[in-house]
């Protein structure tokens, strides 16, 4: 019979609360009522498939025929965009995670699962492309012999740290939603799941700490990569502070990615937004941006490179573009705290992240000038592979948010979902969600009605 775990009184109180006050994100709830497979999803899969086919061609033909890379520009967009830029954008597990766990901004726990998922997908896709971009990937096995590492190489740092981070701490941090799904799936799994959870929580501090130390190290080492290139990186970008600036850019970009993506999902799937949490995230992002811009400006001034920003060349153009995007985004975020306009906030996130992306892209490509006669422009195949792997990440995201509790929502949303699976889609019993929620006062009647219709 009725297996709802709540007495009706508490339930009604909660419902009343939710209706009366501003929406609060209290629980991660799967997106329900939308099919995973739709036209957009199929298109994403098609692009991913195409990317894999082209990857096969690349493995046989070599890098020359498929890419625009040359002796002067040894790195193409697979490394400079998909790895250096997109893992920065996907550093949410680091930047958004460190805020509640280390700096005790507890409200941001609500965004945690979004941050962990986006990071995992960004890193997984980035690492895959790193493997495809490597000319001799079979030699990656040296990664398991620490005494063969070149400990002082920034690239070794990046390759080793990133693979360890994505496969161990970040993957483990993403386990709780999976365990939760199993817990609801079948009551017979529950003792095992609970035991595993207890064990996981015991080790959690060590895992989470590694999940902040490692990205802190490799996101800054991504900046250190270009230090060795010396003069060939334009003086507006080449700086001993590159590692810190890269880390800072990753921080505000990933806030933008996590909060912005959450807002977008809320609009797309018609969920309430918790302005208290979003305001806090926007405030932190704005401060990060202002601090970062200050450091960047001071660095440029003290190195005496400010003059080059006023030359009429492409470098100055890129510099002002990224600076205005980041500053404008920061200003809009700051403004949205006063006006409480979600549109301004969202635009602020988009602009600042875009600026950050250009910043992280510049030292390797836009502001890299190995010699005057060489040029690099990605070929169609390069762009398709790069895009295909982004599509794979997006498809993975769409699949996971519809099957696991990732997106934050008001408590009421959970009950709605449980009711949805109980009454509207009684045949989807396998989710297990249908028996955990407060449905309504006349639940018993509806249940009986349902059983009547079932027996017909």
């Amino acid at each position: 019979m009725s297996t709802a775990t709540l007495d009706t009184q508490t339930g009604s109180r909660l419902l009343a609360n939710a209706a009366a006050s501003k929406p609060r994100w209290e629980r991660a709830v799967p997106v329900y009522g939308f099919p995973v497979v739709n036209r957009f999803f199929v298109a994403l899969l098609a692009m991913t498939g195409l990317a894999f086919v082209l990857t096969g061609y690349r493995e046989l033909a070599g890098l020359g025929p498929v890419s625009g890379m040359n002796d002067a520009y040894g790195w193409g967009i697979w490394k400079t965009f998909n790895v250096m830029v997109l893992t920065g954008l996907g550093s949410g597990a680091f930047a958004v995670g460190i805020a509640p766990w280390v700096f005790r901004r507890k409200r941001l726990h609500a965004l945690m699962r979004m941050a962990l998922l986006t990071s995992f997908l960004a890193y997984a896709c980035g690492l895959l492309l790193l493997g495809i971009d490597a000319g001799r990937p079979w030699n990656f096995y040296w990664i398991v012999f620490p005494w063969k590492w070149n400990m002082h190489s920034p690239l070794a740092e990046v390759a080793i740290c990133m693979s360890i981070y994505a496969t161990i701490p970040l993957a483990i941090e993403n386990i709780p939603p999976v365990l939760e799904r199993l817990w609801y799936f079948d009551s017979r799994l529950r003792p095992g799941v609970e035991k595993f959870e207890r064990r996981l929580h015991y080790f959690f501090p060590w895992i989470i700490a590694a999940a902040y130390l490692l990205p802190g190290m490799h996101q800054s080492s991504l900046g250190a990569l270009m230090l060795l290139a010396g003069e060939r990186v334009h003086p507006l970008w080449q700086s001993p502070w590159l590692p810190l600036l890269y880390l800072g850019a990753a921080s505000f970009m990933s806030f933008g990615c996590v909060a912005g993506a959450t807002m977008l999902c809320c609009v797309m799937w018609k969920r309430a937004m918790d302005m208290e949490i979003l305001d806090e995230a926007a405030r932190i992002t704005a401060w990060l941006i202002f601090g970062w811009l200050g450091l960047r400006l001071l660095d440029i001034v003290f190195r005496g490179a400010l003059g080059t920003a006023f030359h009429a060349d492409r470098f100055a153009g890129v510099f002002w573009l990224e600076t205005f995007l980041i500053a404008g985004g920061g200003w809009m975020l700051w403004r949205s705290l006063r006006t409480h306009k979600t549109q301004t906030m969202f635009l602020g996130y988009v602009l600042s992240s875009l600026g950050g992306m250009i910043y992280r892209f510049s030292p390797t490509t836009l502001a890299f000038r190995p010699n005057p006669e060489s040029l690099y422009f990605p070929t169609t195949i390069e762009i398709l592979v790069s895009f295909g792997f982004i599509c794979m990440g997006v498809a993975g995201f769409l699949l996971v948010v519809k099957r696991f509790g990732i997106l934050p929502a008001p408590l009421q949303e959970w009950h709605n979902m449980a009711a949805y699976f109980r009454f509207r889609r009684p045949y989807i019993r396998w989710t297990g969600y249908f028996e955990h929620g407060f449905f309504s006062d006349d639940e018993l009647e509806r249940e009986q009605q349902l059983e009547l219709t079932d027996s017909d």
């Binding site: 775990t5 046989l60 070599g62 890098l63 726990h109 002082h152 501090p205 250190a224 010396g230």
Partner: protein, 308 residues
């Protein structure tokens, strides 16, 4: 509840004191770090003022390294315009428009005493031979990341863009020939002795004696590579400015020492990351306790399973 002031000070103390110790220890060792010159360092001395640009060395280099001649320019002559996937050694011509002094230049690996390519190479595929000081490439360790093509200040290592098994090509001073007691391909054929092979010390004194013999003949009266970029094992003498020949003025400090100083200091003995890790664990452990408690309270209140 944000982090309290007391807690902040305590964690800074916990993390900071060992960190400070680690940093000072690290700093001392780093200051003592000088670039060791390999005991049996060998190299090349190229005198651009004697070179007649016959390119015999280019052909000999390809032959010695068992590479097909690069005739991709006109399908007939072995005339590569720059170092590339088939060319480890090339002769280039610097000829200014205004008719002032022109010069040939031979480009090959400089075999730096502190090579930037090896500093960046993730699994030590490019490494400096501890005895001869030759910068060698190991096909078993190279992952083909092409970081060497970006880091080398002389832009020497080149990547083979074609095929599923690409290699990095650069001058390895004909190491197999040296083992057999032969000279490198390029020096064995040079008709004018513009490029000679020998121990670095001998080459240096030879270069200095040439400068002494004819003061004013050579640019700035100095040997490029004696101190430049921390010292190199390929040495250059020239009448025209080294920069015009593609040998940038990098200063006496090597590129890795100059740019990765802080990187190296921060990761010295892995001490600082370890200290940071332990203090992070302490802070997070406390946060986790609080968060778990809140989650369970919330669970009691809502009747729904806690989400962590």
């Amino acid at each position: 509840m944000a982090i309290t002031r007391r807690e902040l000070f305590v964690s800074i103390g916990k993390a900071g004191i060992p960190a400070a110790v680690a940093l000072t220890v690290g700093a001392e060792t780093l200051q003592a770090e000088t670039i060791p010159i390999p005991s049996a360092a060998v190299g090349l001395l190229y005198d651009a003022s004697i070179c007649i640009g016959c390119k015999a060395c280019v052909a000999a280099c390809a032959e010695a390294n068992d590479t097909p001649p690069d005739t991709r320019g006109d399908q007939l002559h072995q005339a590569p315009s720059d170092l590339n996937d088939l060319t480890r050694n090339v002769i280039k011509l610097y000829k200014p428009e205004d008719g002032s002094a022109f010069s040939y230049v031979k480009r090959q690996c400089m075999h730096c005493l502190d090579p930037a390519c090896a500093a960046g190479c993730p699994f030590q595929a490019l490494h400096k031979d501890p005895e001869s000081g030759i910068v060698k490439w190991d096909s078993d360790k190279c992952i083909g990341c092409r970081y060497c093509t970006i880091t080398c200040p002389y832009h020497v290592p080149r990547f083979q863009w074609m095929g599923f098994n690409p290699r990095v090509t650069k001058c390895e001073l004909c190491s197999p020939r040296l083992e057999k007691g032969l000279q490198p391909g390029c020096t064995s054929v040079c008709p004018t002795g513009a490029v000679i092979f020998g121990p670095r010390t001998v080459l240096l004194s030879e270069a200095h004696s040439r400068i002494k013999k004819e003061p004013g003949r050579y640019y700035q009266g100095r040997v490029y590579g004696e101190k430049d970029n921390g010292g190199t094992q390929s040495l250059y003498l020239s009448r025209v400015a080294f920069e015009k020949l593609g040998l940038p003025e990098l200063g006496p400090e090597s590129v890795p020492a100059r740019t990765l100083r802080w990187q190296r200091r921060l990761y010295q003995y892995f001490a600082l990351p370890a200290v940071l890790y332990v203090s992070l664990v302490q802070v997070i452990r406390k946060s986790l306790k609080g968060h778990e408690q809140e989650a369970h309270e919330h669970e009691k209140e809502t009747g729904l399973r806690a989400q962590l």
